[in-house]
C-alpha cells in the first residue's frame, strides 16, 4: 500500500480533503481549482508544483479540466511550492508536502479574482493629460498610460489597498532624455508634478502598506 499525504501549510487558501489513491500507484497529487468568491470550479488553470529543494531541474505541471480538476502522477515525495495561474486571477504560492503515507489527500486551490481601477488625469486647468504615466502602488505595482481624454485603467490588481499616482508624460513618449528646454517664444513649458490621488503632492504616510 503506497499512499501519500498532502499537507498545506498556508492554511487560509487551502483545506484538506480526503480521496482514495489506488493501491500500487506512484505518489499522486490531485485537486480542484475554484474561484475564491463564487466557489465555481475554474477550467484551464495552469497548476505547477516546484520542488523547494535547491538546484531543481524539473517541476510538475497540470492543466485543470472543465470541472476544475487537476492531477499529477508519479510525484516524488518532498516539499513543493504550488501555484495555480489563470488570466484574471491571483494566488499566493502555497507549500505542499508529499509523503509516502497511508492517508491519501487532495488539494483545493482558491484563485482570487483581480480587480481594476480606472479614472481620469487632468491638469490644473481641468484639461485632460495625454500620455501621463499612472501607477498603482500596493500589493502589486502596475503602470498604465492615459489616453487623449486623460482616461486610464489599471487592471490585474490583487485585492487590497493601492495608492495611485500620476506623473508627467513617461519618457517613453519622448524620444530622448528629458533635458531643460531652451525657449525664446515667451511661452513656458509646463511640467506637472507627480501627483497622488486625488490631488496630493506627496503620499503623507509613505509606505503605509508595509
Amino acid at each position: 500500500m503506497r499512499n501519500i499525504r498532502v499537507t498545506l501549510l498556508v492554511a487560509a487558501l487551502c483545506c484538506e480533503a480526503s480521496g482514495q489513491t489506488a493501491p500500487g500507484q506512484a505518489p499522486h497529487v490531485e485537486g480542484v481549482v475554484v474561484d475564491s468568491l463564487t466557489g465555481v470550479p475554474l477550467p484551464r488553470v495552469r497548476v505547477t508544483l516546484k520542488d523547494l529543494a535547491a538546484a531543481v531541474t524539473e517541476q510538475y505541471g497540470a492543466q485543470s479540466t472543465e470541472e476544475g480538476k487537476f492531477s499529477v502522477d508519479g510525484v516524488k515525495p518532498g516539499s513543493y511550492s504550488v501555484v495555480g495561474q489563470r488570466v484574471g486571477y491571483v494566488m499566493p504560492r502555497v507549500k505542499v508536502t508529499v509523503k509516502v503515507d497511508d492517508k491519501p489527500s487532495s488539494v483545493q486551490l482558491q484563485l482570487v479574482p483581480v480587480g481594476g481601477i480606472s479614472g481620469r488625469i487632468t491638469d490644473s486647468d481641468g484639461e485632460p493629460v495625454e500620455h501621463a504615466s499612472v501607477t498603482a502602488e500596493g500589493l502589486t505595482r502596475r503602470e498604465s498610460t492615459t489616453d487623449e481624454k486623460g482616461h486610464f485603467r489599471l487592471g490585474g490588481l490583487a485585492p487590497g489597498k493601492y495608492r495611485i499616482k500620476a506623473s508627467h508624460a513617461s519618457q517613453f513618449y519622448r524620444l530622448y532624455f528629458i533635458l531643460p528646454e531652451i525657449r525664446s517664444d515667451g511661452r513656458r513649458e509646463v511640467y506637472n508634478a507627480t501627483t497622488y490621488y486625488p490631488s496630493a503632492l506627496s503620499s503623507s504616510t509613505r509606505d503605509w502598506w508595509r
Binding site: 531541474t57 492543466q63 484574471g88 489616453d147 524620444l175 532624455f177 517664444d185
Partner: protein
C-alpha cells in the same frame, strides 16, 4: 558584436554662428494651422557632450520659431493632445535627423500632425479566454519598415481582459499579436496529457501569416473597435540533452538557450548533466553550456537546434577547457610589438582572452580559447599594412575568419602581413556642393564587415582608409548615425558603388552625400 554597432558622431561646429529654425504646424487632415503644438528639437547627443533641447509652442496661426540654436544634428518631435506627428516616408531612421550648420536659417518647415487614430480589440486563445501581456502591433500595409516615428510606437500590451488600445497615425494596417510563451528553464512533467500553451504570431482576425490577414483601417480622430485576434496555438516543444565533461563536485553546468532575438534564464543541468527546456515554440535555438567552479571555467561549443515539429532533440554539449592558440606572424621588417587578437563571431559568455603579443621571432600565444568562430585581427600595424593571409595548419582561410567550433586541438596559425595595402580617401559634400556636416563613411568587403573600415567625418574633413587588403569593396556614405543595424548595413551595402583595390593603390574618391543613403561619385 556585428549586429549593432553604436556610433556617435561629433559635429565640429558647436561654437560657431547660431542657426535658426521656424515653421508652421498644420493639421494634415483638416488642412488647417494647428495651435498649441509643442515642438522640440533634441540634440542627438554626441558622446559625453550633450547638446541642449530647444522648444517652442505653435500660435493661433500654427507658427513656431526657435531663433537661435547651436549648429548640430537634431531630432524633431511634435506633441499635442489627441494628435500624432506625421513624418515623411524615410526608410532609414538615421535620415529623419535635421542637420543644422552654422548660419543655417530654416524659416518654412511644415510640421504635419493628424488627429490620432485608435485601434482597439481583444486578444483571446482558442477557448475565447483573454490573453494577458500579449504584444499587439500595427504595421502599415505596403511596407516592412515603419514609416514614421509615431508608427514605431504603434503597439500595446494587453491587460487581464485581453484588451489593447493602439494610438497612432491614420492609414491601413495589419494588426498582429505575439505572446511570449510561458516557457521554463526546467523540465515540466505533465501526466494529464496537457501541454504548456505556445502561440505563434497571429494577425487579425485569426491568420498565421500576414498574407491572410484582414487589413484594418485606422481613421484620423476615430476609434476602430472590435479588432479581435484569436491566437493560433503551436505545438509546445522541448529541447533536452546532456552536458558532458562536468568535473566531479557539487557545481553544476549551466545551459544557455537563445533565439536570434531572445535569451532566457539558463537551465541548470542535474547531477548527471541532463537538462530540459519546456514550452518552446518552433524556432531556431542556440545552446551553450558553461561550467564555473573557482578558477576553473569550462565551456561547450554553441550547438544550433532547429525545432519544427513534435520531435525533441538530444543535444550533447561537451564541456572543454579553454585551449591555447599559438602561431607565427610573418612580415617584412619586424613583427615584434604587434598584438594578435581573436574576435568572437559566435555568442560567447564574457570570456576574456589573454596574450597575443608577438615576440622577436614572430611567435605569439593566446589563451584561453573556447570552441567558436573568430576573426583574426592584428593591432597597431604600420600604416598601409594589412593581413594578407591567415593559415590554420597550412590551410588558408577566407576573410581572416577561423573555425574553432570543434576546439583548437593544437592548431597553429600562420599570419602573413603585407606592408603595401591600398588606401582610399576623399571628401564628402552635400548635394549643394558644400562640405557635408556629419556623415558616416564605410568601406566594406561584405555587408557583415561594415565595422572593419568606418569613419565619422566632420564638415570639410577627409575620410581615409589605409592598409586595405586587395579586393573588391563597397563605399557607403550614410547620414549622421546613431545606430547602424544589420538590416541597415545590408540595404546600404547593396546600393553602394564598388571600388576595386589592388596592392599599393592610392585611390582618391570624393563623394556626395544624398539623404537616401547611397554614395554617388563625382566626376
Amino acid at each position: 558584436m556585428r549586429s549593432l554597432a553604436l556610433l556617435f558622431l561629433l559635429c565640429g561646429c558647436l561654437s560657431a554662428q547660431p542657426a535658426s529654425f521656424a515653421g508652421t504646424v498644420v493639421d494634415a487632415i483638416a488642412q488647417r494651422p494647428l495651435a498649441g503644438a509643442h515642438i522640440t528639437l533634441t540634440g542627438v547627443v554626441p558622446f559625453g557632450n550633450p547638446i541642449p533641447t530647444y522648444g517652442a509652442t505653435s500660435g493661433e496661426d500654427g507658427h513656431f520659431s526657435i531663433p537661435k540654436l547651436a549648429p548640430a544634428v537634431y531630432s524633431l518631435s511634435a506633441q499635442r493632445n489627441g494628435f500624432v506627428y506625421i513624418q515623411e516616408d524615410h526608410q532609414e531612421p538615421l535620415e529623419r535627423r535635421i542637420a543644422l550648420r552654422a548660419g543655417d536659417a530654416i524659416t518654412d518647415r511644415t510640421v504635419e500632425m493628424a488627429p490620432s487614430a485608435v485601434i482597439t480589440g481583444r486578444v483571446v486563445d482558442a477557448y475565447g479566454d483573454p490573453v494577458e501581456n500579449a504584444y499587439v502591433r500595427a504595421t502599415r500595409v505596403g511596407g516592412n519598415s515603419p514609416i514614421s516615428i509615431v508608427e514605431d510606437r504603434m503597439f500595446s500590451p494587453t491587460d487581464e481582459r485581453g484588451e489593447f488600445r493602439i494610438v497612432g497615425a491614420p492609414g491601413e494596417f495589419y494588426v498582429s499579436a505575439t505572446k511570449q510563451p510561458g516557457r521554463v528553464a526546467l523540465r515540466e512533467i505533465r501526466t494529464d496529457g496537457s501541454e504548456i500553451p505556445v502561440y505563434g504570431e497571429t494577425w487579425h482576425p485569426e491568420a498565421e501569416s500576414r498574407a491572410k490577414a484582414v487589413v484594418v483601417e485606422a481613421v484620423a480622430g476615430r476609434e476602430t473597435t472590435g479588432i479581435d485576434i484569436r491566437l493560433v496555438r503551436k505545438k509546445s516543444l522541448h529541447i533536452s540533452g546532456v552536458v558532458t565533461g562536468t568535473p566531479d563536485g557539487s557545481a553544476r553546468a549551466q545551459v544557455f538557450l537563445h533565439t536570434k532575438s531572445l535569451g532566457m534564464p539558463p537551465a541548470t543541468a542535474d547531477a548527471d548533466g541532463r537538462f530540459t527546456f519546456s514550452g518552446l515554440a518552433p524556432d531556431e535555438y542556440q545552446l551553450t553550456a558553461r561550467y564555473e567552479a573557482g578558477a576553473l571555467e569550462l565551456m561547450s561549443r554553441t550547438v544550433e537546434v532547429r525545432l519544427e515539429v513534435a520531435e525533441d532533440h538530444s543535444v550533447n554539449l561537451e564541456l572543454a577547457a579553454g585551449e591555447g592558440v599559438s602561431g607565427n606572424v610573418e612580415m617584412e621588417g619586424t613583427a615584434q610589438g604587434l598584438k594578435v587578437r581573436l574576435d568572437a563571431l559566435t555568442q560567447m559568455q564574457g570570456v576574456e582572452m589573454k596574450g597575443g603579443e608577438v615576440d622577436r621571432t614572430g611567435n605569439f600565444n593566446i589563451t584561453p580559447v573556447y570552441p567558436g568562430r573568430f576573426r583574426v585581427r592584428v593591432d597597431t600595424m604600420p600604416e598601409n599594412a594589412y593581413i594578407r593571409t591567415v593559415r590554420v595548419d597550412g590551410e588558408a582561410v577566407a576573410d581572416t575568419a577561423i573555425d574553432f567550433t570543434r576546439g583548437v586541438k593544437g592548431a597553429k596559425l600562420k599570419i602573413t602581413v603585407g606592408v603595401n595595402g591600398g588606401s582610399v580617401e576623399g571628401l564628402v559634400s552635400s548635394e549643394d556642393g558644400k562640405p557635408a556636416c556629419c556623415a558616416m563613411v564605410v568601406l566594406a568587403e561584405k555587408a557583415e564587415y561594415v565595422n572593419d573600415h568606418m569613419k565619422a567625418v566632420k564638415a570639410g574633413e577627409k575620410y581615409r582608409f589605409t592598409g586595405l587588403r586587395p579586393g573588391k569593396y563597397r563605399l557607403i556614405v550614410s547620414g549622421p548615425a546613431q545606430e547602424f543595424g544589420t538590416q541597415t548595413a545590408e540595404t546600404l551595402f547593396s546600393k553602394a558603388p564598388e571600388i576595386e583595390v589592388h596592392e599599393g593603390d592610392r585611390i582618391t574618391r570624393d563623394v556626395t552625400f544624398k539623404p537616401r543613403g547611397s554614395a554617388s561619385e563625382k566626376h
